[in-house]
């Protein structure tokens, strides 16, 4: 059901969107760029969850809704399920995907250039910079999850962590 579009097109569109917001529109304001990208993801997630829950009954509790995100929602989007779900039973969930599709082709510069900066500083700076870039690309996915959950009646905040590309964890904190 529905129409299909090539995956390469979606990948290129997302890449260009992040690049446009980060480098051209809000070049010196990464927080604004991040929140704009997040808002776009929110809209997308909102509409997608509407479409994918069309024939289902209402969810009884938060855990069911999160499980829906992990299994059905993720399968519709990425043809696989979330690999690992952890919770502290107090409103925080960690969704881990060991090979996140939108990050699977991202790879960093293997040899950071050392100018005349001392060794420890340049390594920390390179690591810092390296960590920032995948994060920008993840704001969209965080927005998608947030929008999907909001449509199911759950207000939450979502953040992402990419310490090991291409694995990626999304931390969902439900607002009481």
């Amino acid at each position: 059901m529905g129409r299909e579009v090539s995956e390469s097109c979606v990948d290129s569109l997302l890449t260009e969107m992040v690049s446009m917001y980060c480098n051209r529109l809000y070049a010196n304001k990464p927080e604004l760029a991040a929140s704009r990208i997040d808002a776009i993801g929110y809209q997308v997630g909102h509409q997608l969850s509407e479409r994918y829950t069309m024939e289902r009954p209402r969810f009884t509790d938060h855990l069911d809704a999160i499980k829906f995100i992990c299994k059905d929602f993720w399968s519709e989007l990425f043809k696989k399920q979330i690999d690992n779900l952890k919770t502290n039973h107090r409103g925080t969930f960690v969704l881990q995907d060991n090979r996140f599709r939108w990050l699977s082709r991202m790879s960093l510069d293997p040899s950071p250039e050392n100018g005349d900066v001392p060794q420890e500083n340049s390594e920390a700076a390179a690591e810092n910079k390296a960590a920032q870039v995948p994060n920008m690309h993840l704001h969209f996915s965080c927005g998608v999850i947030k929008g999907a959950l909001h449509n199911l009646g759950i207000a939450c905040a979502v953040s992402a962590d990419t310490s090991h590309l291409p694995a990626c964890s999304f931390v969902v904190r439900i607002k009481p």
Partner: protein, 169 residues
């Protein structure tokens, strides 16, 4: 898994030809002559510095392509020698072989030139070059962090390429 690099040569080559052998290298150029990638797995002899080496290689290929197209006995129209041809237009050479190495070449319609230099007893590498071009598309072009036209610095591409080239010969 054994790392193919340094002074180790493919096991199928007899030891006698090891001395003075160019061994395995790889160049990737774009349509403007910028060397996007230069990988070296076994090159005992370095005669030029990197810049000159790249320029020489690019010039050589440009001239060879032009020459082979001009000398094509089956083609009807013959332009002037040196007129640049669109990729895919006319005929294009795909390899040449000397007694110490074989150079295999492939140009994509977008102007990306792949050059792979191997030992002389390698077979036809056109399919391998197509596979490597596929790796380039997957890991470089689709990498959100890569700017087209700049040297390739993608770890995934380097790893996949090393692994594949190791399996060719």
């Amino acid at each position: 898994m054994q790392f193919f690099g340094g002074t180790e040569i493919s096991p199928s080559l007899p030891a006698a030809t090891a001395s003075g052998n160019n061994g395995h290298m790889m160049y990737v150029f774009n349509r403007n002559g910028i060397c996007l990638l230069y990988r070296e797995w076994n090159r005992p002899l370095h005669t030029l510095n990197a810049q000159q080496d790249h320029k020489l290689m690019f010039g050589l290929l440009f001239s060879l392509k032009s020459l082979t197209a001009k000398m094509d006995p089956t083609s009807v129209e013959k332009g002037n020698l040196g007129v640049p041809q669109l990729p895919g237009q006319g005929c294009s050479f795909h390899s040449f072989r000397t007694n110490t190495y074989k150079l295999s070449f492939m140009e994509s319609p977008s102007g990306i030139k792949l050059i792979l230099i191997t030992h002389p007893r390698t077979g036809d590498l056109r399919e391998s070059l197509k596979y490597i071009y596929n790796l380039y598309v997957e890991y470089v072009v689709k990498n959100p962090l890569y700017t087209p036209g700049t040297p390739i610095r993608c770890e995934l591409f380097n790893t996949a390429l090393d692994q594949y080239v190791r399996s060719i010969s």
